[in-house]
Symmetry: C2
Subunit: 419 residues, 2 copies
């Protein structure tokens, strides 16, 4: 399998049009990753995802760890094979959901202790464990465990949390390198030639038969040789702490870097400010990933700052709630004005939903609570997001990103098209 | 558009391999109609239905009448266009759901008075109204309004109900012929040449703009010229009353005939007995439709008696409940034994689900309550049913239906494959 690599093909200001190669294929950047929380992008089959133009998807480590278990997924050949998606996958570390979904959570230097939202069972997610679980799941890109601090927080709390995240990152990276059979230093300096240094992995050596269940097995299996690991920049909305986090995280060395701790309720301006401050400090030859962001406009703003990768539940969750993104702005399908509307959701869209069905029918399905409403709306919203990313990539090549940004701003800052 | 017609291509005992032509295309019989209750086969898109091999689907008049309304659907070009399915459609009369879902229902000679399960609003479904609503919906095949008698019922109650159904059938037929611009007698005697007698319909003459809502508009629009109407044989499990119903219904004259009032909780033997008694009394040159039936074995038993058309919610509803039909028998996907099962649901099946996913993954989706579980399970169960119908048609051609019946009996009468 090829190593992880990244190259910039074009730039437009700070924005980059690039290609990210992973163990399971190449991703054109800037890219949006649909969120497949529990091993499925809700309502989509793998072929639906291909058809809407997805090149990489995201899985949630917390959910898959607790059910069906990383051990089971490893035994069945890893996440790609388990879910039937042979393209690139990125998994988060599980930390964010352990914070937001787990109950009775306690953060210590050791890690995050919490009770499962499924059955109340107690678990400890450590930085080493996050690396092990993701080694077993086998995404192309794993994320380090970081602390997600509840906002608002005092300056000293943010500093303490940022420093702990850096210590966790060190431990998580060490365990990752150990699992991949690499010395510390092999991967951080010369990512493009790392492949030759990865010793062939004997998948049979994974120790005794792994037991199904949420606890990482003592001898984790490495499902995807060539897996990359991204560090995460924290630091809240405090510029100096973001810079501190960049320094500490870059000193550890990762295949690439993400900006975390945003899209957690802060104002859009605060987010843009952090991204504008942080992105330029990250290595230009590595992809930059803004976690959990955002609206089409948020994405274009961040691309303009040099960000390359995005994920967000917005297109999929909004679809299930009947909130649709169109070239005319947002549209609430249950609105009575669509009851007899024969037109497609979006006349400018070529997705299956827009080619096949009227707004009147989609409204009927939504109002009736039909499963098909979720399926058809999700196909459209994802296609809208992924088409937007294609437009972003073209705009960078042609030097017209600012024009695109302005048109998206006009489209999505005016009142809802149907309100 | 071609008129409704039917021809028998092969026989094997009483079983018939035929072709039924409708305004929206030809259906190979014996055929199974997936049930699209509210204008959608739950979890399926039109292309999913095509891919699993559906040639004709069923819609429920009761649901579509109450929401979004037959007037609205007519204004939008009819049910085919509204739901994005250009193949044949059959709708029931709405009577069965008015009985089973409506509250405070009262049956009089006039019709069925009930309150909507959606909002409690009061409605009256008359035989004439059932013809009008279905004229507006525009299926290829409409059904007459009949009375669905609650079982058990006294002999006299069954007789009274059977006779009322026959009177309703007469009224429903008269209104149908009037709407289609035909004299009584035009359609009943020479179905195959009816087309030439159908005067060209002026779709613009539908009167004033139709209002949306459950009440049939005063001037119903005829959405599908060439629509056929099937009569329904009632009579409970009493052979003499079935024969009486056949006589009275044939005397009215319909394009074809259905056997109703079964699959309502009676033992399988009682159902087979009624079908065996009734089917041979129906015209050999018209398709015979057994309403609401049933298991794969029920279907083959009825085919052996000369039945040609079937509908049932079983494959779709069971799919959503994780109950799957396979060539090895029934399978309950949530069973723990499938947690690590890498095999497909059914190694003999070529559906998308079986080509793409393991039992382990399908179990995970089901246990996690993912929408994808309903979608993927429905694709499989419908494909199993429609493949079974293809095997039935082949068996009739090759004179091996009895062998197929025995193998299905062995497959589905043994305990669940996973119990």
């Amino acid at each position: 399998m090829p190593p992880f690599s990244f190259r910039v093909l074009h730039t437009d200001g700070a924005a980059r049009r690039g290609e990210m190669a992973t163990a399971h294929g190449v991703v054109q950047t800037p890219a949006f990753m649909p969120v497949g929380t529990r091993g499925a992008v809700k309502g989509m089959t793998p072929r639906d995802l291909r058809e809407v133009g997805a090149e990489i998807i995201l899985g949630n480590t917390y959910h898959l760890w607790l059910r069906p278990g990383d051990g089971l997924i490893a035994r069945l050949g890893g996440l790609h094979r388990f879910i039937g998606w042979d393209g690139p996958i990125l998994t988060d570390s599980g930390g964010f959901q352990a914070f937001s979904l787990g109950s009775k959570r306690v953060i210590t230097e050791d890690g995050i202790r919490f009770r499962s939202h499924l059955d109340g069972s107690e678990h400890l997610l450590t930085p080493e464990g996050a690396a092990e679980i993701q080694a077993q799941l086998g995404p192309d890109i794993a994320m380090v465990l970081d602390e997600c601090l509840a906002q608002p927080a005092s300056m000293s709390a943010v500093r303490e949390s940022t420093e702990r995240s850096a210590r966790w990152a060190r431990r998580c990276r060490d365990r990752f390198l150990e699992l991949q059979g690499l010395d510390s230093g092999d991967r951080q300096l010369d990512v493009n030639t790392a492949e030759s240094r990865i010793p062939p992995l004997d998948l049979a050596r994974g120790g005794p038969e792994l037991v199904e269940g949420p606890n990482p097995a003592p001898q984790p299996r490495v499902t995807t040789p060539g897996q990359a690991q991204f560090g995460i920049i924290q630091g809240g909305t405090v510029p100096e702490l973001r810079t501190l986090s960049v320094e500490k995280t870059l000193a550890i060395g990762f295949e690439a870097y993400a900006i975390g701790g945003l899209s957690v309720g802060e104002p859009a301006d605060a987010m843009y400010s952090v991204v504008g401050h942080t992105a330029p400090q990250l290595p230009a030859d590595r992809p930059r990933y803004l976690m959990g962001v955002g609206t089409p406009l948020d994405i274009v703003e961040a691309v303009s700052c040099g960000v390359d990768l995005f994920d967000c539940v917005m297109p999929t969750r909004n679809a299930r709630n009947g909130q649709l993104f169109t070239s005319g702005g947002r549209l609430t399908i249950k609105n009575a004005r669509y009851a007899a509307d024969e037109g497609p959701l979006d006349a400018a869209c070529a997705c299956y939903t827009c080619r096949t069905h009227s707004r009147a029918y989609l409204r009927h399905l939504f109002v009736s609570g039909e499963i098909g409403a979720a399926v058809l709306n999700t196909i459209h919203n994802l296609r809208f997001y992924l088409d937007t990313m294609a437009r972003v990539r073209h705009a960078i090549v042609f030097g017209t990103l600012e024009t695109l940004r302005q048109s998206l701003q006009a489209m999505f800052s005016r009142p809802l098209s149907d309100s």
